[in-house]
Amino acid sequence: MSKRLAGISPLTMEGVEIAVVDGIVRFTGTLSMRDPSATVTPFLRRIHAATIESGLPRLTVDLSKLKFMNSSSIRSLVDWVEWIRKEPDAKQYVLHFVTKPNVTWQETTLSAIQSLGGEHVVVQSGP
């Protein structure tokens, strides 16, 4: 496990917690803030930087306990995929999203993000 990733303190605010636990980024609660670009996006940027510095080929992002996400927050995930794509090939990694089975919005949202991210995004339903 990456020490850099493990050293990132959880982000907890407005009904959501994003934490790195055992090398997995876990979203819990409801993500519906007005301007996630001021909080969530910089937090994800730190995770991205730590992943790059650690040289990890793959990072798991568990959304199975995320009840809801508004479109402003989807932008944060889209940005994340774009950061990866802009890295040199040797530093790029795969975002492995884990979703909750039968939750329609997770399936539709992540499949659209996957179509943007190509080989950099993998979506898995269930653990």
């Binding site: 009904g15 409801t30 519906s32 007005r34 301007d35 996630p36 670009s37 001021a38 996006t41 809801f68 508004n70 479109s71 402003s72 989807i74 932008r75 889209v78 940005d79 774009e82 939750v103 329609t104 919005w105 539709t108 949202t109 499949s111 659209a112 993000i113 179509s115 943007l116």
Partner: protein, 158 residues
């Protein structure tokens, strides 16, 4: 929050000022109302639709004008479902943009429209998305009307 009441056994009407902190309790209220009437299977879709409609009205509507929300349980309709209608006074400058986004959601199948909206998002300034309508269109049948200076967005979730 503004006034609310049960207009009939199938329609819920709420009028409220365009404040961000009203969105979450309203969404929860809608969720509870739907589940209370046995619409558990459509609750996830309804949550998405309600949130995006309310956010749209609060973010882009006239800040001095109240928002009207109407929730109808279409139990007398053969196809059933829930209709959610949000009406607000819009800035004239926003109407053309709203209509453009709306037409984009109608131009192709919902998933394709949403994926293209995601692609456009990457070219917008940080924090901007313009994803709301295409996201609603994936979960519901969406219509846009302009009545005078008021914009009415109606989504039907089945």
């Amino acid at each position: 929050m503004g006034s609310s009441g049960l207009a009939s056994d199938m329609t819920l009407f709420v009028r409220f000022p365009p404040k961000w902190n009203h969105i979450e309790p309203l969404r929860q209220y809608i969720d509870l109302a739907a589940r209370g009437r046995g619409y558990n299977g459509t609750a996830d879709k309804l949550n998405i639709v309600a949130q995006e409609l309310l956010e749209n009205a609060v973010k882009y509507g006239d800040p001095s004008s109240e928002i009207e929300l109407e929730l109808r349980f279409l139990e007398s309709f053969k196809s059933g479902g829930i209709e959610i209608r949000v009406s607000n006074k819009a800035h004239p400058s926003r109407l053309a943009l709203l209509d453009k986004e709306y037409q984009r959601t109608r131009a192709e199948p919902p998933r394709e429209a949403f994926t293209k909206a995601l692609q456009r998002t990457q070219r917008l300034p940080e924090g901007a998305t313009m994803l709301g309508l295409s996201r609603i269109a994936m979960e519901a049948t969406l219509t846009l009307e302009v009545n005078g200076d008021r914009v009415v967005l109606t989504a039907r979730v089945v």
